[in-house]
Each structure stands twice: as C-alpha cells, then as structure tokens.
C-alpha cells in the first residue's frame, strides 16, 4: 500500500513540476527597511518570470537563529534552494560544509564574472580560488548627520557636509561645538550598549591605522594590540567628555537620531530607507550621510557583503539549478533598486550607471568603496561569530568608561587566543 502511495505521490509531483513554474525556495534575513525593498524585488522577478520561475520567499530572524537554521536544515536535507549570506561568514560555512561552489560554468550562465565586482568584494566570496556566492551588495557603516542642527551651529562646510571629517582634532571640535550649542542632548548617537555592533566602528578605526586583527592565524600580533587600544581610547574619550550617548542599544540609537535628540549617528547604510521613508512622510529633518571621519592616518571603513548562496543538502535537478542561477543573475543585474535600501550594489556595472550616480545619499558615501576593509578570513570571523562575540564583551564596559582600554585589550587578547 505504502509503495503505491509513494508512486502516486511522485507521479503527482512529476506532472505538477512539468506543468507549473519552477519554484525556488528562498530564505533571507532581511527584516528591516531593506527587507521591504527585497520583497518588492522578488515580486518584480516573479512578475517577469510568470509561468517559468517563481520565488517562494521566507524571511527569518537575522544572526545566530538564521545561521543555526541553515546548518540544521542542510544536515537533514531540507535546505532552501537559495539564501542570503554574509560574505564574512563564508569561511565558517565552508568549514561546516554548508555551501555549494559557484563554478566557472555557473558564472558564464549568469553572465557575470570577476570583472563585474570590486576586488575586495570578489575576494569576500572566494576561498582557495573557488567562489561560494554571488555578491549582491556591500554594506559599510557611515556617519549620519542632522543638517538642520549642524547648519544652525555653523558646522557645515560649503558642500553641506560636517566640518572636521579629516582629523581626530577636527572631529572632536565638531562634537564639542555641538555639545556647547546645547541644541541636542548628544552630539553623537552611538550603539554603546551593544559590543557586537561596535565591532564595526572599532575595526574601522583599527583599519585607519593599518591594524590587523589576525596575522597568520594569530591575534593582535605586534603593535596591533596598541592600535586596538588607540581605537578604544577615542571612543572612550567621547564618552568621558559627554560627546556620545552611553549604554544605548541599537533601537534607542536610531530613535535618538531620528527624534533629533542626537545630531549625528554612526550606523549601517541599511538605515537609509528608515530616513528616506520618515523624510518622505515629513517626519524628519534634513539629513545626510557621509563616509566615516578620518580619525587616524587614512580613511577606512568596515564593510560586509550580502551574497546569494546555494546551500548543500538538497538534491537539485538541473532545471532547478538553472532557475536558481537565473534568480541570482537577475537580482545582481537589477540591483539598482536595491540601492534604495542604502546598500552599495556589488555589481560595478550598476554603480557606474548615471541613475545610481544621481542617487542621494548613496553617491556621497559610495566613494568609500575604495577604502573598505573586510573581516579576517577565518572560520572564527563573521557577523554573530566567535570573534565578534569575544571582542564585544569588552567593548561595552570600555566604551561606557567602566574599564581601561589597556585592560580591555589584554583581556581580548587572552580570550581570542584561548578559543
């Protein structure tokens, strides 16, 4: 009896597959303002491929929950056909055996290749000369600012950008002037309660001194420890002088800025849609976003990429795989709309378009693509990964003035090397 049922079921499946469009099961972790844009893109794709390919999308919880679910689903063979991934987590994913390689043939089918992406982005999806994902974007952190408040305090230059972005003294002076003007509660809104988030800022400041987190498998070698200490000292100074918000978690940081209680904010480009939407509804002041100030030697900004990846652990038919490649190719070639989510499209043909260059504030900060630094390439790195986790523990007490930067660095060194 069971056999008959099985045959009937498979026959049913086979016929429905032949008749209906190829369904591509899609998982992403895009729950914010960018998620709304992605749903729009999925809808557009489905409309353009009616009767051929249909994306069946699900949005899951960002971070550890998402990556845990991927791992378990691959193990039991229930993985989706396509998923979003962070480039920084690719080394770990390879170690866990989660991803299928994107072969040269695949790239040809998609009509994409190395020449379509910036080197740092291409490098982010590569390991041992193989590629494991199709980059969609790069999403650095930027400095948001309230034009109204800064203009009032006379702190905008002739380009309408904040003064003092070129040096530590200059930026401190701008912050101090905002504090003295007393028109806001905090000159800078900073996610000081969340060490995970602050990793991005602190790693950027390390990058500005050419600091390396990991050298040949060892952590904070040589003067890199000192560079980390310098980075922490800057942020602690801002706290000690009352220039930034303390013990502020992520949602509160955004709220401090959008409510006008903080004049500036360091946050990811993914908050751009929040600002755009609020501004459109007339609920937000005039605002802008620029590359992070140069506190040390030269500009550098931490960034990560959203990429599309094909998980292992599902027996994909040829047709299905072709459909998945079509999805990835289409998304990359139509990622101009994705830029409205604040992200910088990874496909350099898109960023070269005139329409992109006319987009604000994207084009103002897109100069930073030349100065991006990525996570060290190790299975220990990546958003919500072990390095993130260890460092974040000591960031919170340090940034809020409970712990000396020096002590924090020695603790971080001890724990990183103990992993």
């Amino acid at each position: 009896m069971r056999k008959i049922l099985a045959i009937a079921a498979s026959a049913l499946l086979a016929t429905s597959a032949a008749q209906a469009a190829e369904t591509v099961v899609w998982w992403d972790f895009l729950g914010g303002g960018d998620g709304v844009r992605m749903k729009q893109m999925i809808a557009d794709f489905n409309e353009g491929h009616e009767g051929e390919i249909e994306i069946d999308g699900t949005t899951l919880d960002w971070g550890v929950p998402f990556y845990t679910k991927v791992q378990t689903s691959v193990a039991v063979g229930e993985a989706p056909d396509i998923m979003t991934y962070h480039a920084s987590r690719i080394p770990l994913a390879i170690k866990q055996g989660l991803l299928q390689e994107i072969t040269d043939e695949d790239w040809q089918t998609m009509g994409l290749g190395e020449e379509d992406f910036a080197d740092s982005i291409w490098d982010g999806v590569s390991a041992d000369g193989k590629q494991y994902g199709v980059p969609l974007d790069t999403h650095p952190i930027v400095l948001y600012y309230n034009k109204d408040v800064l203009a009032e305090a006379g702190l905008l230059d002739e380009n309408g950008q904040p003064k003092g972005l070129d040096s530590r003294e200059g930026f401190n002076a701008t912050l101090q002037a905002l504090k003295d003007a007393e028109s806001v509660k905090f000159p800078l809104a900073s996610v000081t309660a969340d060490g995970n988030f602050m990793f991005r800022t602190i790693y950027s400041l390390m990058g500005q001194q050419d600091g390396e987190l990991m050298t040949d498998g060892e952590f904070l070698v040589g003067d890199n420890a000192e560079k980390l200490e310098n980075a922490l000292s800057v942020l602690q100074q801002w706290t000690n002088e009352g220039l930034q918000s303390t013990y502020t978690d992520y949602p509160a940081t955004v709220a401090l800025f959008t409510s006008g209680e903080a004049a500036m904010m360091i946050n990811g480009v993914w908050e751009v849609p929040t600002m755009v939407d609020l501004h459109k509804e007339g609920k937000l002041f005039e605002w802008g976003a620029v590359e992070l100030p140069v506190i040390f030697d030269h500009p550098a900004t931490y960034s990560d990429s959203h990429v599309f990846a094909i998980p292992k652990g599902n027996d994909m038919s040829e047709e299905k795989r072709a459909a998945v490649l079509e999805v990835m190719s289409w998304m990359s070639k139509n990622s101009l709309f994705w830029a409205t989510a604040g992200h910088i499209p990874a496909n350099s043909n898109i960023t070269a378009m005139d329409e992109y260059k006319a987009m604000e504030p994207n084009s103002t900060y897109s100069s930073l693509t030349a100065n991006m630094i990525y996570d060290p390439k190790t299975p220990l790195a990546g958003v919500a990964g072990p390095i993130f986790d260890v460092m974040s523990t000591y960031f919170v007490p340090t940034l809020n003035g409970e712990m000396d930067p020096e002590e924090a660095v020695s603790e971080i060194q001890y724990e990183l090397n103990d992993m």
Binding site: Q96, A193, D194, T248, D249, A252, A255, D389, N400
Partner: protein, 293 residues
C-alpha cells in the same frame, strides 16, 4: 474468574510500549548520545573525533564557565527562597479577602504568569530602558542619576531576578492558596479560643501545616531557576551577554555560536549532574525536616 497473568502482563507491556518507545527515542537516546558527544571534539552537527576528557579538563580554567556557574548560583539564590516568600506573603493576604474581590486580586497577581517571556521582556525593557524607559524619567524627576540596569553587571542579575519573581510568582500563589484552604478552620478556631497571637498562629499552625506545599514550591522553583535561559538571553541582547552568562546560555553559545558541539555537551552534562545532586539534596532535606516534626 480465572485470570491469565501472562496474558495480562503481555497486554500491559503492549500498552506501555508506545510511551517507552517515544521516551527512549526522544529522551533516553539523546541523553546517552550527549554523554558520548561530551568526550568528542565535535562540531554542532556531524561526526567528531574522540578527545578523551579534554572537554571536561578545560572547564575549570575556562573563565566563561566560571562566570556561567557563579551567575547561575547567584540567580538561584536571588529567586528561589525570595520568590517563595513573596508568594507566601501574597497568598496570606489574598486568602483574607473573599468573594469577587478575592477573585479580582488573585487574577491581578496571576496575570503576569500567563504572559509569554517575550512580552515580559518588552514590558520591562520599555520600563527600564536607559534612554527611553519610563522609570528613568522618574529618576530624572527626583534628580537621581539614571541607571543602565540591564547593561551593567551589578544590576543585571538582581533586576532579572526581580522580573522573574514578578512573572512567575502567580503560580506559586495558587499553590499556596490551595494549601491554605486545605488547613481545617477548626484548628484556627481552637487557637483563637486560647487567645493565641497572630504570629504564634502562623508559626505553630499555618507554617507547619503548609510545609508540604512550601516544599513543593521550593523544589519546582529550584529546578526551574537552575535552567534559567530565556530572560537572561533576552535582557542581555544588545548588551553584554558574556558577563551575564548562565549555564544554559553558555551551552547555547558553545553549540550554536561557536559550533563546538562536544564542549557544549560537556557543559550540559555538568549541569545535568548539578541538577540531580541539588534535587536529591533538596528532597532529602525536605524529608529530614518532615521527620523532625
């Protein structure tokens, strides 16, 4: 009627077979597997290599394990006995009311218990958030400094313990109320005739007769609080989770963040043994004090 003992035994076995099978499959087998896993250098999913007792040997010098261990002990100390006393006090009060008023007051105290933990978290986060919490505005009014309650190690555990007692004491109150109602009125009447003071009445009538219920509440609380995870996880999100680690959280972190199934299993085994030892001790202690009476 003649009974076929053999047949009855067989039927009994058949009837309990489904339960035994499921119990074996989803409890006994994974538990045994956990012990094996704890001796391996294994990832979260997939096979690992035998590593001897290394996973255990590193625990004493593992700082995070120390943090998790002492935080769990601290949390148990902050919740089990205080929570039981609070529930007892409230139920003593509620029992003196009657009719609709009693039902109303009881349901007010019971209400938090039916909330899911995520709602509890939201409520208290809104209340105590450093930048926007309602309580912080109160502090401002009185000219006091704001306190980042869930962001510093000093305040974190006491605050989570307080929230936990607020959240879970409704159930203990119900148990105590049932216990109080089971004490015969005559005993109180007799005591009243002898002009016994309120305190003596409590000390010599209510407390000893309520002891079985108190023991039950203490045991339930103890086991529940040793396994604390949800509240700590939620309240330390976006804060400093590693300073607020508790045992179950640490198991989660090793397994799901660091992808070290073997090390996570070793910690789980330690927690398992801890719970067994403490429960047995607790049970023996209860029996001992019972016998003394």
């Amino acid at each position: 009627m003649l009974r076929n003992a053999k047949r009855e035994t067989l039927i009994a076995y058949i009837l309990i077979a489904p339960f035994v099978a499921i119990y074996g499959l989803i409890f006994v087998y994974p538990t045994i597997d956990l012990f094996f896993l704890s001796f391996q250098d294994a990832p979260l999913i997939g096979p690992g290599e035998f590593a001897g007792t290394e996973n255990y040997e590193r625990l004493p010098r593992d700082r995070r394990f120390g943090t998790a261990f002492w935080n769990t002990a601290y949390f148990v100390a902050l919740t089990v006995i205080p929570g039981t006393l609070v529930a007892l006090a409230i139920s003593m009060g509620v029992t003196r009311l009657s009719g609709r008023v009693q039902a109303l007051v009881l349901s007010l105290f019971f209400l938090p218990y039916i909330l899911p933990v995520s709602v509890v978290f939201r409520l208290w986060d809104w209340t105590l958030n450093f930048q926007f919490g309602i309580a912080m505005h109160l502090l401002d009014i009185f000219g006091l400094d704001r306190i980042p309650i869930f962001k510093t190690t000093t305040w974190f555990m006491p605050a989570v313990a307080f929230v936990t007692i607020w959240w879970t004491c409704g159930f203990s109150i119900l148990l105590f109320l049932a216990g109080l109602r089971a004490i015969p009125k005559e005993i109180y009447e007799a005591a009243a005739l002898d002009n016994t003071s309120r305190w003596r009445m409590f000390r010599h009538v209510t407390w000893p007769l309520l002891w079985p219920v108190t023991g039950l509440v203490l045991t339930i609380q103890l086991i529940l609080q040793l396994k604390i995870f949800d509240q700590v996880y939620l309240f330390s999100q976006g804060g400093r989770p590693n300073d607020n680690l508790v045992m179950v959280y640490y198991i989660f972190q090793r397994a799901f963040v660091n992808n070290q199934g073997g090390r996570a299993a070793a910690i789980a085994v330690v927690l398992f043994i801890m719970v067994i030892i403490i429960s047995v001790l607790n049970f023996q202690l209860m029996r001992f004090s019972e016998r003394r009476k």
